[in-house]
């Protein structure tokens, strides 16, 4: 995006933009007009020609190994992710993730508008954790302008975030089992997720990409009906989770498919910057909510679940435990939520934060999600950098997936819980 040259890099190519493009949109001098439009049009042509050359050369070889393009349209890459697999029979020799198919220039859009105008975008980056990403952005700006958040809004934030975490984990639960080959749990999980989405509809109006957080508070109050529904939801979810455990975690085929598959060691996870459940499954109890508490998370009683194995089953077990912990936090938050204003009327609509650099991170269902904001003292952000967890988590598949079977790669990818727009931003 900047056109940085790195010495001794083994494979230096464009990450998010097409490989043959010669423009650098995040540079301040970049203007999308005139020459750059022509450049972009030319890019596709050059790429097409190059692709044709490659395909004609590959056909001439007659070798034992071969390449498979898994994606960008493939049922188990969960979006437009492309894995270039170098295979020998069913065994993977090398994996090369190719990203950028869902690149939507979210960071650039942040620079183009003022602070208010970036509200709706974060929830579209990871569409399964919209509420939490909302908090990530709003929290950063709140830190920059130093505004106070009302007590009730703090509770509302925790409630919607934990509900969102449950919804995201439920979606992942079903999708992961579908990768392993059983279709039925997907629909059971969707039924529970539907309940959560209905609740979100009651508090925000939308079901997937929310715009609920405001600087200093919320867009509107949580209705008593919604809170009642959430209180009823907790015991139901608990009994369902127990059922799922009996049906899935005790199934021998599922255990055989996941145990010992895709082991991420602790060192490897730290080196790659893996966060979230994938890191905790390797035995490192790092959770932003505990280690760097934001909001009022330090007022609740809950644990950080970990596993020691680091395999796909470990990641599965950790996520299931996280669902239990989320329910625990929800229970406490729902009993303690105070009355009061849901937003801070003193919050300014237009403002100019002091020049400086601000970082705020939240624990998304997939790991540490942080926004790094540079303000130059104007109404628009100078730079918004999103530290999205999937981007770092995906890299690890290069090391972990090697020397595995094709079926295992699907299982590992599922257990890492990748959301493609979160990778590509």
């Amino acid at each position: 995006m900047y056109g940085m040259k790195i010495d001794n890099h083994p494979k230096l190519d464009r990450l998010l933009l097409p490989e043959y493009s010669n423009f650098h949109p995040l540079r301040k001098g970049f203007k999308f007009e005139g020459d750059s439009v022509d450049d972009m049009n030319r890019t596709w042509e050059i790429e097409r020609e190059a692709d044709q050359k490659v395909s004609s050369t590959v056909l001439e070889h007659h070798r034992r190994d071969y390449f498979v393009n898994m994606g960008p349209q493939h049922p188990s890459t969960h979006g437009v992710l492309r894995l270039l697999l170098h295979m020998d029979g069913e065994t993977i020799l090398e994996i090369d993730p190719v990203i950028g198919y869902a690149h939507r220039a979210d960071e650039k859009m942040g620079e183009n508008g003022n602070y208010m105008q970036f509200y709706p975008y974060p929830s579209r980056v990871d569409y399964l954790a919209g509420m939490i990403y909302n908090w990530g952005y709003v929290g950063t700006v709140e830190r920059a302008i130093g505004i106070e958040i009302t007590e009730r809004a703090q509770y509302i934030r925790v409630i919607v975030s934990e509900l969102q975490r449950l919804a995201s984990h439920l979606m992942w639960y079903g999708a992961f089992l579908m990768d392993v080959g059983s279709f039925t749990p997907f629909l059971y999980c969707f039924q529970d997720r539907e309940e959560i989405l209905d609740m979100f509809e009651m508090c925000d109006g939308s079901r997937l990409t929310y715009n609920y957080f405001r600087f200093g508070g919320q867009e509107r109050d949580l209705s008593p009906e919604m809170l009642d529904r959430a209180r009823k939801f907790i015991p139901m979810m608990k009994s369902h989770l127990k059922d799922y455990e009996k049906l899935v975690q005790k199934n021998i085929i599922f255990r055989k498919r996941t145990e010992g598959v895709g082991v991420i060691t602790k060192d490897m996870a730290i080196q790659y910057g893996v966060t979230g459940a994938s890191l905790r499954a390797s035995g490192f109890a790092y959770d932003v909510r505990k280690s760097e508490p934001y909001g009022i998370y330090n007022q609740f009683e809950w644990d950080v679940p970990t596993a020691t194995t680091g395999d796909a089953y470990g990641r599965f077990a950790v996520r299931v435990q996280e669902m239990w912990q989320s329910l625990r936090i929800l229970e406490q938050a729902l009993t303690r939520i105070p009355e009061g204003p849901y937003n801070n009327p003193a919050a300014p609509k237009r403002f100019k934060p002091n020049p400086g650099e601000f970082y705020f991170c939240v624990e998304s269902p997939r790991g540490e999600m942080g926004i790094y904001l540079i303000s130059d003292g104007t109404e628009n952000p100078y730079r918004i950098k999103m530290r999205t967890p999937c981007y770092s988590n995906l890299q690890v598949i290069k090391d972990v997936g090697r020397k595995n079977f094709l079926a295992d790669v699907v299982c590992i990818l599922g257990s890492l819980d990748i959301v493609v727009p979160d990778v590509d931003r």
Partner: protein, 318 residues
């Protein structure tokens, strides 16, 4: 002479009609069973409780364009679905639906069934190879490995049954069971047969040749329209046929309480089909290497042991 010709014609028309109608019924049944297992309703709009949904889908498939990929091997590509469908029809010839409802009661009936059933794998490999698609080829490779391997325990299990009965004729096999069903004499053989049958028909948890999450649709990824429908039809007919064979060999065919006849055969077959669907929508999928290990290290030794014990016991009894 003319009589025989008319007889053959009636049987041919009858078999094709049964195959098609039965496949439609099975597709409907699978949709409804899977839907209710997954707390859904399934098709509800077309006809009463969606009864005509599969008919509508069949019409859609027939009227669809036939796409042949540019780099495909055209002859094999066109031939494969026909070849996949052929054994299905041939197998119906010896199915003992009722005492006087067998098209040809060959005296090598059981042998005939299994020799034609194993032809299916050639068609699958043809389809995978000719599509010129890596996923198809992988699916076909897996399928060949799986079907050929699972045929070993399957045939060993059937051999034990044949040893007890002492005949390969389908009608005699069923008649032998008028007092006690074979499942009570050979429970291990029945279980092995059902597992091998699931693997042979590429049904979950042995559905690795068309593992959706890995290979998209396996060997029939590139097929569309009626050619795809033929694969679909043969898959469902195979499920039906495996249940038919299991009923004839193990569950006493047309025998049952009260009145013997075709209704008992049909009830038993559909019960087995239901069990196979139930398994499919409940269990995850095995990995190819685990599948092979299971076949060669667990099923085959048990099948051989079963055959050995059967032989020894028979020798002692006589």
């Amino acid at each position: 002479m003319i009589n025989i010709a008319i007889q053959i014609l009636i049987w041919a028309v009858g078999i094709i009609a049964v195959v098609t109608v039965n496949a439609l019924a099975l597709v409907y049944l699978e949709r409804k069973v899977s839907a209710h297992i997954q707390c859904r309703l399934g098709p509800m709009q077309v006809g009463f409780h969606g009864l005509l949904q599969t008919v509508a889908d069949a019409v859609k498939l027939v009227s669809k364009e036939q796409i042949i990929p540019k780099n495909a091997d055209k002859v094999l590509f066109i031939l494969a679905p026909i070849l996949a469908f052929f054994p299905v029809i041939v197998l119906f010839v010896v199915m003992p639906f009722a005492p006087n409802l067998i098209c040809r009661d060959l005296n090598i009936g059981v042998l005939y069934v299994f020799s034609f059933a194993s032809l299916e794998v050639i068609a699958i490999f043809m389809a995978g190879w000719s599509s010129n698609n890596k996923y198809s080829l992988l699916g076909a490779m897996r399928s060949v490995a799986q079907v050929v391997s699972y045929e070993v325990p399957l045939l060993l299990a059937v051999l034990a049954v044949v040893l007890v009965i002492g005949s390969l004729k389908m009608s005699e096999v069923v008649q032998y069971q008028h007092k006690i069903w074979m499942i009570f004499l050979q429970p291990a053989a029945f279980l092995i047969f059902m597992m091998g049958g699931l693997a042979d028909t590429n049904r979950s948890p042995f559905d690795i040749p068309e593992a959706e999450s890995e290979l998209i649709a396996g060997f029939h990824t590139e097929y569309s329209g009626m050619r795809f429908a033929l694969f679909f039809l043969s898959e469902y007919s195979n499920v039906f046929l495996v249940s038919c064979i299991a009923t004839a060999l193990f569950l006493g065919g047309w025998y049952g309480p009260f009145v013997n006849g075709i209704h008992w055969f049909v009830i038993k077959v559909y019960a087995l089909v239901f069990v196979m669907m139930w398994v499919r929508w409940t269990l995850p999928r095995l990995r190819p290497d685990q599948l092979m290990n299971f076949c060669w290290k667990i099923l085959t030794p048990i099948a051989i042991l079963n055959l050995l014990v059967t032989g020894v016991v028979l020798k002692l009894v006589h």
